[in-house]
């Protein structure tokens, strides 16, 4: 199947091919909830959790769909699994921490439409990863997503104090920072090979 070591899969998913900065997956929450450090790290945690669960389910579903020879159902069944996992996380967060629930707001249910999660499920299927490899891949992707989110949030918190021209404020500035971060993440290429 695949000969990559688990360590390489993790480094690859989290740093070299960071989901946000190299694949552009999950840009919406990346722009939306990266204003504050605390919210960003918790959002990262929630996304990582959904990623791991849905990645495991996607592995099972793929095996099942191959067995019954119905690959065209792949997309639909993946999205259903993701939607239900997000629903579960939403209920847990609402019960455990109403304050966090309010802080994340609309972006919590929107995890369903976070491309990073569906992208992860599709990529692992394309790469033919086994169960353990899928788990590590999801873990790495989640870690990479959280890292990117926290980095941006830290930078944006600092920028709140800076004197910025009105035209640049908002999304354009965040995108510029993201571009520079993406450049610096390119430095990880070749790591672990």
């Amino acid at each position: 199947m695949n000969t990559e070591s688990l360590w390489y899969i993790f480094i690859n998913a989290s740093l070299i091919n960071n989901f946000v900065l190299a694949y552009f997956l999950g840009i919406c929450p990346f722009l939306g909830v990266s204003g504050k450090m605390e919210t960003a790290s918790k959002m990262g945690g929630a996304v990582t959790f959904v990623m791991i669960i849905s990645s495991m389910c996607a592995y099972g579903i793929h095996a099942l769909l191959v067995a019954i020879n119905a690959p065209f159902l792949q997309l639909i069944s993946y999205i259903v699994v993701i939607a239900s996992t997000v629903q579960l996380v939403e209920m847990i967060v609402k019960k455990m921490s109403p304050a966090l629930f309010r802080a994340l707001g609309i972006f919590l249910p929107l995890i369903t439409t976070n491309c990073a999660i569906l992208g992860l499920a599709l990529f692992q299927t394309n790469k033919g990863y086994g169960f353990g490899e899928s788990f590590v891949y999801a873990l790495g992707a989640g870690a990479g997503f959280t890292l990117a989110l926290v980095l941006i949030a830290g930078l944006r918190e600092q920028l709140n104090l800076a004197d910025i021209p009105n035209v640049v404020k908002g999304t354009a500035l965040t995108l510029l920072i993201a571009g520079i971060l993406s450049l610096s993440f390119m430095g990880f290429a070749g790591l672990g090979s």
């Binding site: 900065l21 190299a22 694949y23 552009f24 997956l25 999950g26 840009i27 919406c28 722009l31 065209f72 997309l75 639909i76 999205i79 259903v80 939607a83 249910p109 929107l110 369903t112 439409t113 976070n114 491309c115 999660i117 569906l118 992208g119 599709l122 990529f123 394309n126 009105n166 035209v167 640049v168 908002g170 999304t171 354009a172 500035l173 995108l175 510029l176 993201a178 571009g179 520079i180 993406s182 450049l183 390119m186």
Partner: protein
Amino acid sequence: MSAKIGEKSNGGFATTLKNSPSTDEFIKGLWRDNPVFVQVLGMCPVLAVSNTAENALAMGLATAFVLLMSNILVSSLRNFIPKQVRIASYILIIATFVTITDYVIQAISVELHKSLGAFISLIVVNCLILSRAEAFASKNSIGSSALDALGMGVGFTFALFCLGAVRELLGNGTFFGLHFFPDTFQEWIVMILPAGGFFTLAIWLLIFNAAKARKSEV
């Protein structure tokens, strides 16, 4: 015509957009509510597949098709879908059309399918489509939903094309694969790398912001 039918069948639903003429649903997506430059929705495919003008155009058209079909279906089913499960139903509708699009593109051009890769499947999670289904198609008639989808689709394709053209021209020195610059031109490799996507979009947004600021000053 379609607006009239809409008002009748909508019953109590149509409150916000009752008075606007239906051509307005089309035009607003092109400029005033442009999905990419103004609403900042559906960023992932915008950045990921806009490295050449051709990819950008294909992706834009595929998204517009899914948007149109799902808006029409959501709008025609809006009185049958229970409120509690509406988001799940919308996603299923969208996923169905994306699967169709995926197979159609594969049938038309395997090469294009390869270069767009997983991003065709990822149209499912394009926030633009879900947000149009939820914010517009679920409350309006089939006719105006279709017009809205067309406008948004064209606006999205236009925005993608703007990015793709700039990135291909500067990063590769070509436009739709044709060489545009003399041999001495040094390509800006960074433009076709991921970082270039962020920079190009940021600069387009800056231009839009500046234009808007100037307009509100006058």
